[in-house]
Symmetry: C2
Subunit: 760 residues, 2 copies
Amino acid sequence: MKIKQPVYAIDNIISDYNDLTVYETVFHNANGYIGVRSNFEEGYPEGIDTIRGSYINGFYDIAEMKQAEKLYGLVEDKQTMLNVVDTQTIYLIIDGEKFSMFEGTVKESKRWLDMEKGITGRYIVWRSPKGKEIEISIKRMTSFTQLSLFTIEYIVKALNFNGNIVFQSYHRGEVQNYSNENDPRAARESSRYLVPAQAVVEEGVSYLTSDTSKSALSVCTGVAHRLSKDSSIVTKLEGHSASTKIDTAIVENESIQLVKYTVFSDSIRHKDCTANAKVEMGKALTVSLETLYQAQFVYLKEYWNNCLLEIKGDDELTEAINYNMYQLIQSVGKDEHCNITAKGLSGEGYEGHYFWDTEMYIEPFFNLTEPSITKNLISFRYKTLDKARENAKILGHAKGALFPWRTIMGTECSGYFPSGTAGYHINGDIAYSVVAYYLVTKDLDFIAEKGAEIIFETARLWMDVGNYSNGTFRINEVTGPDEYTCMVNNNYYTNVSAQYNLRWAYKFYYMLKEAKQLTNIEKLGITEDEVREFERAADLMYLPYDNTLKINPQDDSFLDKKVWDLENTPKEKFPLLLHYHPLHLYRHQVCKQADTVLAHFIFEDAQSMETIRNTFHYYEKVTTHDSSLSTCIFSIMASKLGLIDKAYDYFGDSAKLDLFNTHKNTKDGIHTANMGGNFMAIVYGFGGLRIKENSIYFAPSLPKQWEQYKFQINYEDSQIIVEVNAKETIFTLVKGGSKVIHIYGISYNLEDVVKIALQG
Amino acid sequence: MKIKQPVYAIDNIISDYNDLTVYETVFHNANGYIGVRSNFEEGYPEGIDTIRGSYINGFYDIAEMKQAEKLYGLVEDKQTMLNVVDTQTIYLIIDGEKFSMFEGTVKESKRWLDMEKGITGRYIVWRSPKGKEIEISIKRMTSFTQLSLFTIEYIVKALNFNGNIVFQSYHRGEVQNYSNENDPRAARESSRYLVPAQAVVEEGVSYLTSDTSKSALSVCTGVAHRLSKDSSIVTKLEGHSASTKIDTAIVENESIQLVKYTVFSDSIRHKDCTANAKVEMGKALTVSLETLYQAQFVYLKEYWNNCLLEIKGDDELTEAINYNMYQLIQSVGKDEHCNITAKGLSGEGYEGHYFWDTEMYIEPFFNLTEPSITKNLISFRYKTLDKARENAKILGHAKGALFPWRTIMGTECSGYFPSGTAGYHINGDIAYSVVAYYLVTKDLDFIAEKGAEIIFETARLWMDVGNYSNGTFRINEVTGPDEYTCMVNNNYYTNVSAQYNLRWAYKFYYMLKEAKQLTNIEKLGITEDEVREFERAADLMYLPYDNTLKINPQDDSFLDKKVWDLENTPKEKFPLLLHYHPLHLYRHQVCKQADTVLAHFIFEDAQSMETIRNTFHYYEKVTTHDSSLSTCIFSIMASKLGLIDKAYDYFGDSAKLDLFNTHKNTKDGIHTANMGGNFMAIVYGFGGLRIKENSIYFAPSLPKQWEQYKFQINYEDSQIIVEVNAKETIFTLVKGGSKVIHIYGISYNLEDVVKIALQG
């Protein structure tokens, strides 16, 4: 399937130096294993801010994180994603003049991303200070079909001269992470994490191997060069770097192509990563670049076939949505050793950590488009279950597992536990995601193999953290999704999510028992008594409800607090977290993001429509949406409540967050959860999709700004296309057996096509 | 008045090296301005732990305290009390053999403190490896009458030889603070804070001046030596140190006396501290040592006259109580530039910070014995009021002042705000202490001058932090005294203390208005409307009460939490804070210390006796007394409830905490608040003393273990001695005009003596 506007391009005559770091993010290349920021090959003059980085998903070192006051169990070190190498650097010298975007005359300059081909590029026409003109075309690719591989194809053409050109290309092993003392979202101190271990040049290919300082890991990168014409290519080692010099003649109108291959390998996946890098390089060099490009195209063709989403009447939005879906496949980990970071592999914000974003904002997208990826993401959590058990012990729990709020390899990396570790809902989120995967795939084998163990161990934790009081089961001293209200009792979201977790623990127990698939979890020693206790706690789960307002309070004390005067808060005081002390925030009714409203989206059957409506209107007034995870949820719920204009407003420009840098921090990386959230706002919001135990539900609506929209989803063995226009909604079964579907609450048998008039 | 057992002495043949640091604390010298730990003059072999320190109250540098995660308003640096100099070191060499407690034979060794004379000492008989025997007598004093002065009188006598002796005495300016990575109560990292500024020797006196690295302060110390016989005294500078060599002959049975004088001066009190040190040294050297000793004795005679406290039937306890009272006068600041630190000037625990201990545990003692000291302590708070106003702004408050949880010069030094800055009750405590001082002295002039401004500004803060809800005034998101339960709503202690603060704000307003003494606070712009609002909030203050248990819950959610199973918690898991994650502690009903029970002591008229009794029994079961501020309060309340055996048990050995190192951390310094608390347990507890607006109240009881006890208090213009024996209580007015006093609820006119039969 072809996507609309597959190429996103910008003119790039540099005007604002601050934009440079933003475009480094926007045009980065990644494939879920490696990510390379889009830095200029030729570099920048001194004093210009740039974040030059190449990253491996799940590859980390340990960084110190001292607590201002030492208390038992507080985290004192964390994992941090490493910038592992610089292989981007290529200087181009024409007759002694070095190409630079900051000297001479840039006559033309474009940067582009082709989302069908999976390639980014630059195109520059440049006139040197001495008047020599060249045309430069650069293409970059991180291969989806050979995850270790990153290529730069660098073509230079002499436009008005005969002369000499030199490529000076580098492979630098001694690199550091970016740091910014003043930005709470970036690391605060730069450290040298990688220790040089080995540097060799074999058959013109340089291999640099480094060890991490504390995490006992190794990384190897290999770099090779191929020139389109015969010329000497001389590679020399200098310390833990290699430099390659190519010196050749060029004549007017001649084009010379240099291809620079980088392969990455690490000791998490390969015991001897140096040996593996050599294998990978061998593999890359045996096929032509064109073949690699072709494989990339084929991979993406399949991807776009699975995630069609088009909006008629807003081409820019369609482009943005496609951009987001492209970033999601670029960012998401492809093996159980990693997950998807808050910033993908595009930057160092949040230090490459994995959050609940994965389960609540990313997996809902992959469930519908590529559920095998969800399976991988859950497998990652499964792999870290022992670490989560240890974490539970640190927190004082006698049993169960508590997943870390932020992590790379499974241990907690939160420095400030009240809005970190205290977010116990991460357990409910992970359990929810297992169920969601099951509901869309009915893959009980995976539940038997991995899912159930997660569900049981998280359920056990709820039993330990909660307590019965006044005939109800209560959960104290936790933090819900809203980080402006911390360490509260009976956070509605947490409790309803724990209830769901406990309910599915006993459901799965009996399903597996019936299917004779309990073998795998026998080691847990789960008994029917214990399962019944899960059921009892779920049944007695206390879900706060306010009789006067007829809403679910966010927690036991939320409504007793002062309402924050948002109307009279000056614009420059947002986001509030950068301008107010946590105690002041916690003392007020003010929300950073959807919390109870999110619970009502995820667990809509727990409350009446009236409660959901009142709750939505109540929280709307006290939510700042300072988090990028918020407006998409409000949009979904506005759709549910029939407030389509409001839904559209919430949806608004948030789809373009990174393309337009609306949060002013795209330089640190893309916002992967927001990207998933925007997909959700269309499919779950305007499309009204819900997947429940007994069936699949739709309740489509159409914003008046759009002529039509169309999306496609996987459900069990089938693929369904939903097309919504001003008149009607058309459901087309494009794959798989017939399905009972619910539209606006009425059930239909979808065998081929079902057409229903648009409501509302 | 003579005190019983004025000399506390121990044999000190070294057996356990760990005791050394404990005795450094126990026998330290201090006078409220300077403190010198009792280190051996001759030093220790390498590898033996020692905390060699000399401190100035209120003198500090700024230390970095990075937060693991940066959030708005979190404290990132703190003040830390400095070890300013080493002038203790004196090596003694007899015929080439250096005296050491760790070589040769220690035939006799004693250490002692004379609390009447204000002097500590050592007495040693030592035989050198080569068989030479000497007797050493050392006396140390920090002068109460010349606060800058510290003296060491060192007398050596040759017992079995004629020969040569050398004193090698040092004055070292390059010193560091003690650090211990593993102890949350000690600083975590050692830094060099002092920068050498000037070193001179003038007329044989060395003066070393140093500047702090960040706080822009200077300190100067001067050291002089006097020998009892003519001999050359040679003082040389080496870097930022001076060494003095005295080489002389000694004959059998001859005693030679060396007196080493140290004066301290600092730029907080004296702009040119070097010049001031010279003046102080001149002053010290013009009088004989005997004259200085005599002045010390006279000062303490007056002190002991004011704080008589004797227990017949327990001499060891009387000694311990006297020790504690001695430590309090040693520790407490004597000017408005300082206060009393948690560890006095005896060690570096809690980094020389001032806490609420001052107001709630120390001032109750000084109010009754030396109220001018309370006045000083309040003046210190008054001096830092502007800093407290700034602190309130950082915390988001539009008006009022919020005193810091821990500080030296007035800014917040809490690294972990949930059990630091969130302890807003510090405001109520300081306001309470102003009222308490007023009630005992009726010093309205001081209220007009300083007290009222504190009361009004703290009252304003309560108005800003609290809010009306359901017809009550509520205070959310604060931490009460119990640090095992943090960031709660409507902590009973905090609310009742805020109520008292607000009530006294309007009381003082009208008292001052009537006395035409409002001039001083006109600048605050307090209006009658505002004062009426204080009154309204106080009247509507929400004080949590549980109808089922008929107790005051510690806060809104305390009773909903799981009860900690204290009975089945192994002994080695105490104190809990060293073994459990804060979230786990916060999630349980478990208290580190008296909280609601403390509120019932301080504000007993807010609740019925039934509520107070039920509350006491309830919290008794869930309190660990992991804080040294706890058992004394439980003892007082047990006394109030007529549970004298229980009161005695709580009182128990806590009076001997530091003498017997029962908390295993006396090495870091004495526990000043505990010392005040023990006094309170007798006078307010067994004696049943309360001072209220309209009168003074007693309700004496006698533990069966005691024959009799006696204490004396100041009240308004009078001094009253209370003697309690098995038969009766005798109240004697020893000074001042007649007073109406209440005994067991009945009022009497005390003109001379009132005798009442003992009840209960």
